[in-house]
């Protein structure tokens, strides 16, 4: 019995490094008036979190999330060309295993299951957080590899700001954007608009011949509105709108660059709109009604979905009342999806819903425990439960020093996408959901010595996925089938340092990730391919971000090394590459006409792929070598 107790103690002594009470690798910007916002589901997450530094995001307001993630994080983005479809695979899983939530609403494509990160403008978000590690109970169905959370701020205080951005770059690239925030104690509004275009005719070398990229031009625009009205001290009504449109020629493979017969184009319109009502005491009750639609034209083929949805949740927190702090959240959502896709057998309506119960407990301010459960319901499909559990223990939790260790485990599911179920004029509804079992160990250390901050975090994970869906040739078409077993395992290390001085600061973030994903069971004759990394995913990535400021001068240096990658051919590997991007800007503070307003003009430049490296993330999809961006930003802030 005593031994059992000791074992239990040992287990508890390696609990999960919970992000919520730690200083975090990058401290999330807390919403100023947090009581006017329900606790996000992510707050119940037991996995690690990577948060984009706000200083770096502010320099990449003219870029897509794909541009930033590809250059400034250890995450590997598959890009089918510059400005083309860009997807994120977390911890060696597939693109459709990354759940992306904007303000708590899933925005993954209903047809493909993935998200095109080239169409997520950084301008729209104040917070970008990545949660590697599956935890469907928290993030929702599909988060087998992890989740990305995108958020804006709601303030309810007397302030306002206006930002006007103008950017020109190589290959006739133009980006114009406006972001305006107006806030009073009763009303908050953030409006963002952007327009971007590019000829995208960058040079590249193929068979030692210099060519200029053809048929890769694009333009896109978008508008986002985040409106909130404080009806009373206990009630908030808010509305959110997202509308983006892109029209792009599809960048051909290098060998087809000069063959106009192979040129294709695509356009897509995405609209999201919802109303949200929150009532605060005694319980926090939240209900949201919304609609989102995607309308894509691939050549002359239509791929469209309508998604009407409702989300609701009830939550309660008990803080500092006893030796135990606790938060509970119970909720659910219903999506009614109507596809209109040229290659579907029929356009029957599909209903997808779930209920969840999230809980988090803190004992004696030392031990954090999360326990979450979600159950999904899908038309004609039985979906297993998605539980998750985590423990984290703070060995040291002082003001300037923290040391914690933790563990977490979760069972996750990914319901087949609409394409999986209906594509190709066939009925695939017997396809089983993918199921993942994720376990991880984490350790974190943070230290602050006067003006120096150090944060280190390390994770070890194992993600076993059964019934992995893979598209296989079946006669003259490709059809999804379930593979028996795919195993992903790996290691991540992050070290973040920051030095704050009187008029300057400097930060250095270093992230290393090792991943190995292989098919363990699936084909009868996979023996030659055992212990072999899944094609196109690097086993190793290393990213460094150096950023800071000296007075009004700001700089960012992004370095990223991507290791050798396998292809589908065991005799062929894609070479490793190292990319470096540099950004710098100077802020001119204009004379204050009155003390309420601050006017700033920011002039800067980015040099991307500084080392002029020829590389590609997808075979024969050329990427631009060294190119330049120049920008001017005008800020006006009411203090």
């Amino acid at each position: 019995m005593r031994n059992l107790f000791l074992i239990l103690c040992l287990l508890l002594s390696t609990p999960l490094y919970s992000q919520n009470d730690s200083l975090q690798i990058h401290e999330l910007q807390e919403v100023e008036v947090s009581t006017f916002r329900p606790i996000s589901n992510e707050a119940f997450s037991g996995t690690t979190v990577l948060s984009a530094p706000t200083e770096v995001l502010s320099q990449y307001q003219n870029a897509s999330l794909s541009d930033y993630l590809a250059a400034g994080t250890p995450l590997f983005i598959k890009e089918s060309g510059y400005g083309m479809l860009s997807t994120l695979s977390l911890r060696g899983t597939a693109a459709s295993h990354t759940k992306v939530n904007w303000e708590g609403v899933p925005i993954n494509s209903q047809t493909m299951g993935q998200v095109d990160f080239s169409q997520l403008p950084i301008l729209f978000f104040d917070e970008v957080s990545i949660y590697p590690g599956g935890e469907c109970a928290v993030h929702g169905n599909g988060a087998i590899g992890g989740a990305v959370s995108l958020k804006g701020k709601v303030l309810f205080k007397d302030t306002m700001s206006l930002q006007i951005h103008s950017t020109v770059g190589s290959f006739a690239t133009l980006h114009e954007a406006v972001k305006c925030m107006v806030s009073t104690p009763r009303i908050h509004s953030t409006t963002a608009l952007y327009y971007r275009k590019s000829d995208n005719d960058f040079p590249f070398y193929f068979r030692k011949e210099k060519q200029y990229q053809q048929n890769a031009s694009f333009y896109d625009y978008g508008v986002m509105e985040n409106l909130a009205f404080r009806i009373s001290p206990r009630q908030v009504l808010s509305a959110k709108l997202w509308h983006t449109y892109y029209d792009r020629n599809i960048q051909p493979m290098m060998q087809n660059n000069q063959n106009s017969a192979k040129y294709e184009s695509i356009s897509n319109q995405s609209t999201k709109l919802w109303l949200d009502y929150a009532h605060y005491t005694p319980l926090l009750w939240n209900v949201r009604l919304g609609w989102q639609a995607d309308d894509q034209l691939y050549e002359s083929h239509k791929i469209a979905t309508d998604d009407w949805f409702m989300q609701t949740s009830v939550e309660k927190s008990w803080k500092k009342k006893s030796v135990v702090d606790a938060s509970l959240k119970f909720g659910g959502e219903v999506h009614v999806i109507r596809p209109e896709v040229y290659a579907y057998l029929d356009t029957s309506v599909e209903c997808r819903s779930d209920v969840y119960l999230l809980s988090k407990f803190t004992f004696l301010n030392k031990l954090d425990l999360t326990c979450n459960l979600r159950k999904d319901f899908v038309s004609d499909q039985i979906v297993p439960f998605s539980p998750s559990f985590s423990l984290s223990y703070w060995f040291v939790k002082k003001e300037f020093t923290r040391l914690s260790a933790g563990m977490g485990c979760s069972r996750n599911v990914n319901v087949p996408t609409l394409n999986d179920r209906y594509w190709g004029m066939i009925d695939n509804r017997d396809l089983r959901p993918e199921k993942g079992a994720n376990t991880e160990l984490n350790i974190g250390f943070e230290k602050m010595i006067r003006k120096y901050q150090l944060s280190a975090q390390s994770s070890l994970y194992r993600n076993s996925v059964t019934d992995w869906i893979l598209w296989m040739p079946r006669g003259n078409i490709w059809k999804p089938v379930n593979l028996d077993h795919v195993l992903a395992k790996g290691f991540e290390l992050s070290i973040v340092q920051k030095l704050l001085m009187k008029k300057s600061s400097v930060s250095l973030d270093v992230h290393y990730a090792y991943n190995h994903t292989e098919v363990k069971e699936g084909f009868a004759e996979m023996k030659p391919f055992e212990n072999r990394q899944t094609p196109l995913l690097p086993s190793q990535t290393l990213s460094t971000t150096l950023y800071g400021s000296v007075g009004n001068f700001h700089y960012t240096l992004l370095g990223k090394w991507v290791g050798e990658r396998n292809t589908t051919d065991v005799f062929e590997q894609l070479d490793p590459y190292f990319l470096m991007n540099v950004a710098a800007d100077y802020s001119f503070e204009l004379k204050k006409r009155d003390r309420k307003f601050l006017y700033v003009i920011d002039v800067g430049s980015q040099v991307n792929n500084l080392l002029d490296v020829a590389y590609y993330t997808m075979p024969y999809r050329a990427m631009p070598m060294r190119h330049f961006v120049f920008f001017v930003k005008l800020y006006m802030n009411k203090n």
Binding site: A261, F523, P528, P619
Partner: protein, 367 residues
């Protein structure tokens, strides 16, 4: 130069002599050994999105060289290889994505010439000093047809338009015979299969042989010992057919329905012409990851069917006209390299399975 350097140099010389003639088998990246006799050219179709088609070479001494194109030319083919043809002194590779016909030296596999401008080249037949190639672009039907390439100049010299999606082509009785079908790009479906005959000695006069009522596509052709032309018809989700071309009535008849003739529909006549080889898909393995496939023969006289080989994931096959051996490969869903198997004419397995390129589907035997 000091003593250590001399010693190192000496070892380097010895090592270079020792390793110069070494070769590895079943691995990529090794030097080709042109003095050996090519027994089988394996065409690896490749994965479309990776454009990693290529060739593997099996020599008569049993050694196998993968990535033969890349080794000989210093860079990958960067295409999908649909088929290959023995043109005498060269091999012609019919490639898509990038659309081209790549001519390789018969022994060294160095690129001799590249012909571009033909959309999605599919299959070819050699007549004298000309190569006739079918072109079958699903998205641009207007350029489909039969193209003639002069093998002296490696230039396209003629074009004979054909409706629909032309596939297999053979040369027989001073005529070129092409399997084709009309095709609806909107519904992704074929209909009205037909075989077209071009009379070489009659200014390429064209005769069309139709099979009324079928919605499958005519894929490939073979000639039996009686001089009868056989055509395979296939379509996804339908039982395939073998039909005979009635040259008198100018139609296709004597239908033999075959359970799930596999989609590419390759057929070959045995060296004696008394058997026609074909492949069927018979279902899926547990879990559905792999197709269960079977290579069968049909006796051209009695029409009796014999199962020769069964296995998983076969996509194409070839029959060695000299030995009667059957070459095929499990393409592993095009997700990674294929595993090649060799069987005797009676179905006995001759090897344990050799790793070749991605999507190995055609097997050619030098004339």
């Amino acid at each position: 130069m000091n003593r250590f350097s001399f010693k190192f140099l000496g070892w380097a010389v010895v090592a270079s002599v020792l390793f110069f003639s070494c070769e590895k088998t079943e691995e990529g990246g090794e030097e080709l050994v042109p003095q050996k006799t090519v027994k089988c050219l394996v065409v690896n179709q490749g994965n479309y999105s990776d454009a990693n088609g290529g060739i593997s070479v099996l020599y008569s001494d049993g050694s196998l060289v993968n990535q033969a194109y890349q080794n000989a030319n210093g860079e990958p083919l960067a295409a999908i290889v649909e088929s290959a043809v023995d043109c005498g002194n060269t091999w012609a590779l019919m490639c898509a994505n990038e659309d081209k016909i790549e001519f390789l030296d018969k022994n060294t596999f160095k690129s001799v010439a590249v012909v571009k401008g033909i959309s999605t080249p599919r299959y070819g037949a050699v007549v004298g000093n000309a190569l006739y190639v079918t072109s079958s672009d699903f998205y641009n039907l207007s350029t489909n047809g039969l193209y003639k390439i002069d093998l002296s100049t490696y230039k396209q010299t003629d074009y004979y338009p054909l409706e629909g999606t032309p596939e297999g082509v053979i040369y027989y009785d001073d005529c070129l015979w092409v399997a084709s079908a009309l095709y609806n790009a909107e519904t992704w479906a074929s209909y009205d299969p037909y075989v077209c005959r071009f009379q070489l000695k009659n200014d390429m006069k064209k005769d069309v042989y139709k099979l009324e009522g079928s919605t499958m596509a005519a894929r490939h052709l073979a000639v039996d010992k009686n001089g009868t032309i056989w055509a395979s018809l296939s379509a996804y989700g339908m039982d395939g057919q073998l039909v005979q071309v009635d040259t008198t009535e100018r139609k296709l008849d004597n239908e033999i329905t075959l359970a799930q003739l596999n989609y590419p529909g390759h057929i070959y006549a045995s060296s004696t012409g008394d058997q026609i080889y074909y492949m069927t898909t018979d279902g899926y393995s547990a879990g559905g990851a792999e197709e269960i496939t079977t290579i069968k023969t049909i006796d051209v006289t009695s029409k009796s069917i014999t199962t020769v080989v069964s296995g998983n994931g076969f996509y194409g096959f070839g029959v060695d006209g000299t030995t009667g051996d059957i070459y095929t490969a499990n393409v592993n869903g095009f997700q990674t390299n294929a595993t090649m198997y060799i069987y005797t004419s009676t179905g006995e397995q001759k090897n344990e399975g050799d790793l070749v390129g991605v999507g190995a589907c055609r097997f050619l035997f030098p004339k």
